[in-house]
C-alpha cells in the first residue's frame, strides 16, 4: 500500500512539472519586482499583461489557485503532500503565484474555521475566482498594539448593524471591494469579550478611505472610515461577541507570514552582495573586518533561523505545536530582516542612499530599508511578542 502511494506521488510530481512547464508563460517565471507583477483580482480587476491573464485563467481552470481547499469551495482538493509537491515545483520553476489575495491568506482560513457552511459556500469560491479584493480592518488610530481596545462600533438595528468608526493600516483599502473587520458589539463586556468579526462591502454608503504615505515614500496602507454604514446581519462570521477568538487565530497566522514561514522568495545572500560591492584584500576576503564579522554573524543567525522553522514545522507534524511560538518567529524573523537591511545599507555605502532611479541604481534599497522599520511594529510589535513569549511560554507572572 505504501509503495502505491509513493508511486502515485511521484507520478503527481512528474505530471505537475510537465503541466507547469507547458502552461506557465515564461514571463510569469520571472522574479516579482513589484507587487502588481502578480494579479490581485477584484471587481475592477485589470491584468498587467496577457501572460498574467493567461496564467491566472489556466491555474483557475486547473483548480490550482487555492490547490489545498476542498473542491466544493473552489479549491483543488489536493492533499498536503500533493500541495507540497506543487509548491516545490512552482518554486523550482520560479512560477509566480496566479493570484495575490488576503482572501486566500487571511480571510479564507478564518472562514474555514469559523463561518457557517452557507457562508463558506458563498464566499470561498469568489475568493478563488479573484472576484473580490479583500482587505483587513483590525487596527485603529488609538488601538495599535492594544488591539482589543478597538472602538469601531456596530449597533444592532434589527435586520442590520450600523457601523461607525475608523480603521488604520488597512492595506490596499483604496483598491479593495470588501473588508473583514473587527467591531465592538457589546459595550459593557470586558474589552476582549465584546468584539465581533464582520464582512463589509466597501461600496456601501458611508465608507471612505485615505492612503497613508510611509517613510519609504510609498505605501499600500490606508485609513478607512465608517460613517453609519448599514451591514446585513448575515455578514457576521462566527458567534456574536466572539470575534476575538477569530482575531487571535488570524494574528497567529499573520505573524507566521511576516516572520517568514511559508515564504518562498529566494533572497540573495548578504555576503554575495558584499563581495560584489566591497573592497577585498589580497586573499579575496572583505577588507573591512568589522563589517565582515557582522555579515558572518547575521548569516549564522539567518541560516539557523531557517533550520528552526524546519524543526518546529517537523515537530508540529508530530502533534507537538505551540501557537505562542509564532510570537518567537515573528519577533526573530522581523528583527533579522531589519538587520539584513542595515547590512545592505552599510555595504551599499553612499549609493545605498539614492532615492529613486538613476544610472547607478534603481534607488529601491533606501526605500526598502525604511519599509523594514515597520516590520517590528506591524502584526504586533517586537515588544508585544516578547510579552507573549514571557507570559504564554515562560509562564512569567503578571502584576
Amino acid at each position: 500500500m505504501e509503495t502505491k502511494i509513493s508511486i502515485s506521488l511521484s507520478d503527481f510530481r512528474t505530471e505537475t512539472r510537465a503541466w507547469l512547464e507547458a502552461n506557465c508563460p515564461e514571463s510569469m517565471r520571472q522574479p516579482v519586482k513589484d507587487p502588481f507583477d502578480v494579479y490581485w483580482g477584484g471587481r475592477n480587476s485589470k491584468f498587467k499583461s496577457n501572460d498574467q491573464k493567461l496564467w491566472f485563467e489556466r491555474m483557475l481552470e486547473k483548480r490550482w489557485v487555492v490547490p489545498y481547499w476542498e473542491t466544493k469551495y473552489g479549491g483543488g482538493g489536493l492533499t498536503s503532500e500533493e500541495n507540497n509537491i506543487l509548491v516545490q515545483e512552482m518554486t523550482r520553476l520560479g512560477c509566480r503565484k496566479p493570484l495575490y489575495s488576503f482572501g486566500i491568506s487571511m480571510l479564507g482560513p478564518a472562514l474555514l474555521n469559523f463561518a457557517s457552511e452557507d457562508q463558506k459556500l458563498y464566499y470561498l469560491p469568489q475568493i478563488v475566482e479573484g472576484k473580490i479584493w479583500w482587505c483587513q480592518g483590525y487596527s485603529e488610530p488609538n488601538a495599535g498594539s492594544d488591539l482589543a481596545s478597538l472602538k469601531t462600533k456596530a449597533i444592532d438595528k434589527g435586520d442590520h448593524y450600523e457601523i461607525t468608526g475608523s480603521k488604520v493600516w488597512t492595506s490596499y483599502a483604496d483598491k479593495s471591494d470588501w473588508i473583514f473587520c473587527l467591531v465592538r458589539t457589546d459595550f459593557k463586556a470586558t474589552k476582549h469579550n465584546g468584539i465581533s468579526f464582520i464582512l463589509i462591502d466597501m461600496a456601501s454608503k458611508g465608507v471612505s478611505t485615505r492612503p497613508i504615505k510611509l517613510i519609504s515614500g510609498k505605501s499600500p496602507f490606508c485609513e478607512t472610515f465608517f460613517d453609519g454604514v448599514k451591514v446585513p446581519k448575515e455578514n457576521l462570521i462566527g458567534n456574536l461577541n466572539e470575534g476575538w477568538t477569530i482575531a487571535k487565530y488570524l494574528l497567529t497566522h499573520e505573524r507566521q507570514m511576516i516572520g517568514g514561514i511559508g515564504e518562498t522568495d529566494i533572497k540573495k545572500e548578504v555576503h554575495s552582495v558584499a563581495l560584489e560591492n566591497l573592497p577585498l584584500n589580497n586573499y579575496g576576503i572583505i577588507s573591512d573586518g568589522v563589517l565582515r564579522n557582522k555579515i558572518a554573524d547575521f548569516e549564522m543567525d539567518e541560516e539557523i533561523f531557517d533550520l528552526t522553522i524546519q524543526r518546529v514545522t517537523d515537530e508540529a507534524k508530530t502533534g507537538n505545536n505551540s501557537g505562542a511560538l509564532s510570537s518567537f518567529f515573528k519577533f526573530y524573523g522581523t528583527e533579522l530582516n531589519i538587520a539584513r537591511y542595515e547590512l545592505l545599507m552599510a555595504i551599499g555605502g553612499s549609493e545605498a542612499l539614492f532615492w529613486g532611479k538613476n544610472e547607478k541604481s534603481d534607488g529601491d534599497l533606501a526605500r526598502k530599508f525604511c519599509r523594514s522599520k515597520g516590520n517590528s511594529i506591524e502584526g504586533g510589535t517586537s515588544e508585544i511578542q516578547l510579552n507573549i513569549i514571557s507570559k504564554l511560554i515562560l509562564g512569567l507572572p503578571t502584576k
Partner: protein, 372 residues
C-alpha cells in the same frame, strides 16, 4: 530527514536525564571540587558503561551499538544540564571517534573493547598554544627504524592526567598524522592543570617518545581528512553539552524570576526582566535547531557536516556566554556567591565555549568557507 528526535533517541535522552539527575546532579560536581578536584566519580563512569553510552558510537563490527551521534549528543546535553563529570568527552566523543574514523583495523580491534568497558581511557592531545587551530602543529613525529619518535608539547588535554592512552596530533614531514601513545611511555611528562570549571586538564611534554609505526591512526587515510571529520564531531559534541548548559541555566533563572520578591512583588512581573528572558528563550530555540542538525549531519555523512559543526559551535559559543552571564545578572547578588549553583554554569560554559575554538574562531571559519 525530519529535524526531530526519533522515538529511540527520545528514550535514550530520557534515560540519561533519569540517571544523571539522580546519580550526578550539580551537588556531586561540587563535592568533587571540594575533595581536591577529583576529576570524576568512577562509580558513575561504571554506570555509564553499563548503560551502553561508551558503545553508542562504536561500529557494530567492533561489537558497538552504532546508535549514532544524535544519541551521544542527547547524553552530552544532559551532562551539560547536570554538569556531570566523566570521561565521556575525552574518551568517547574525542578518542573513540578518532578510533572510529581511523583505518588502522588492528589498532581498532585492539582498543575498542577496553574503551567500551571504560578501562581504556583515551585523551586527545591537539592544542599547542593559547588558541585552538587545526592548520599546522609544532609537535613532530619522525620515522626511525620502524618506530616514530615524537617531540613536542600539548596543552589543555582533557582528562590528560588520568587517561591510559593519548591520541596525539603530530606533523609527519608537513602532513598531519595521529598516533596512539600509551600514557606511561618513557619521555612523556604530564602536568595537571585545573581550569575554572574545576575540571582536570593536562600539559603534556613529549621528549623522544618512541611509538610503534603500527600505532598510527591514519594508514592510507589522509590525516587532514581524519582530523577535519574528528573536529566536526568535537565541535558538535561540545555544542550539545553547551546546549544543556544553556537550557538548565535558563530554566533555573526563569524559576528564580517566578519566586524572588523585591519591593513586595515577584521580580518576574517586571517587563524589563521578562523581555530579557524572552530573548534568551529565542536564542536557545535557535541553538536547539543547529545542534540537532549538526548531529544528524555526522550520522548521515552530510557533505556540509563541517559547516554545520562550525555553525553550532559559533552559535552555542555566543549564546552560552549570553545565557550564563544573564543568568548571573538576573539572579542578582546570590548569583555571584559560591553557594549558588548558577555560577558553576557560567564557569563550565566559559571553558566549553573556549575548547576547540570560540565564537570568533568558528565565525571566521564560516566566512572563509563561504569565500568572504
Amino acid at each position: 530527514m525530519a529535524l526531530i528526535l526519533t522515538e529511540e533517541q527520545k528514550m535514550l535522552k530520557d534515560s540519561a536525564t533519569e540517571l544523571l539527575t539522580v546519580k550526578s546532579p550539580v551537588i556531586k560536581m561540587r563535592e568533587l571540587r571540594d575533595s581536591k578536584f577529583i576529576p570524576f566519580d568512577p562509580k558513575l563512569w561504571e554506570e555509564m558503561v553499563d548503560m551502553g553510552w561508551t558503545a553508542l558510537t562504536v561500529p557494530e563490527s567492533y561489537n558497538g551499538l552504532d546508535f549514532g551521534f544524535v544519541g551521544l549528543g542527547q547524553i552530552l546535553e544532559e551532562t551539560g544540564r547536570n554538569l556531570s563529570k566523566s570521561p565521556l568527552i575525552s574518551s568517547i566523543l574525542l578518542g573513540g571517534s578518532a578510533l572510529r574514523l581511523s583505518d588502522n583495523e588492528t589498532l581498532k580491534t585492539k582498543l575498542f573493547p577496553g574503551v567500551m568497558e571504560g578501562i581504556n581511557q583515551l585523551a586527545f592531545a591537539i592544542q599547542e598554544g593559547k588558541h585552538h587551530q587545526t592548520k599546522s602543529f609544532t609537535t613532530k613525529a619522525i620515522l626511525e627504524k620502524g618506530n616514530y619518535i615524537i617531540n613536542g608539547s600539548k596543552t589543555i588535554v582533557i582528562d590528560g592526567a588520568t587517561a591510559t592512552h593519548l591520541i596525539v596530533v603530530c606533523m609527519v614531514d608537513d602532513k598531519i598524522s595521529l598516533f596512539l601513545v600509551d600514557a606511561k611511555t618513557k619521555g612523556i611528562t604530564i602536568s595537571k592543570t585545573i581550569l575554572m570549571d574545576s575540571g582536570t586538564y593536562a600539559d603534556i611534554a613529549f621528549k623522544n617518545v618512541k611509538v610503534s609505526a603500527q600505532n598510527r591512526l591514519n594508514i592510507k587515510l589522509d590525516g587532514r581528512l581524519l582530523l577535519d571529520q574528528l573536529m566536526a564531531i568535537a565541535y558538535t559534541g561540545i555544542s550539545a553539552e553547551l546546549l544543556g548548559i544553556c537550557k538548565q541555566a535558563f530554566d533555573v533563572t526563569v524559576q528564580y524570576l517566578k519566586e524572588r520578591q523585591q519591593f513586595g512583588v515577584i521580580i518576574g512581573t517586571y517587563q524589563a526582566l521578562q523581555h530579557r528572558a524572552a530573548i534568551l528563550f529565542s536564542e536557545i530555540e535557535l541553538c536547539k535547531s543547529i545542534v540537532l542538525k549538526a548531529l544528524q549531519a555526522i550520522d548521515i555523512n552530510d557533505s556540509k557536516t563541517l559547516k554545520y559543526a562550525h555553525l553550532a559551535k559559533a552559535k552555542l559559543g555566543k549564546t552560552s556566554k549570553l545565557v550564563t552571564s544573564e543568568a548571573i545578572q538576573l539572579h542578582g547578588g546570590i548569583g555571584v556567591t559560591d553557594d549558588a549553583d548558577i555560577g558553576f554554569y557560567l564557569k563550565r560554559a566559559r571553558v566549553a565555549q573556549q575548547l576547540f575554538g570560540d565564537y570568533n574562531y568558528h565565525l571566521h571559519q564560516l566566512a572563509k568557507i563561504k569565500g568572504y
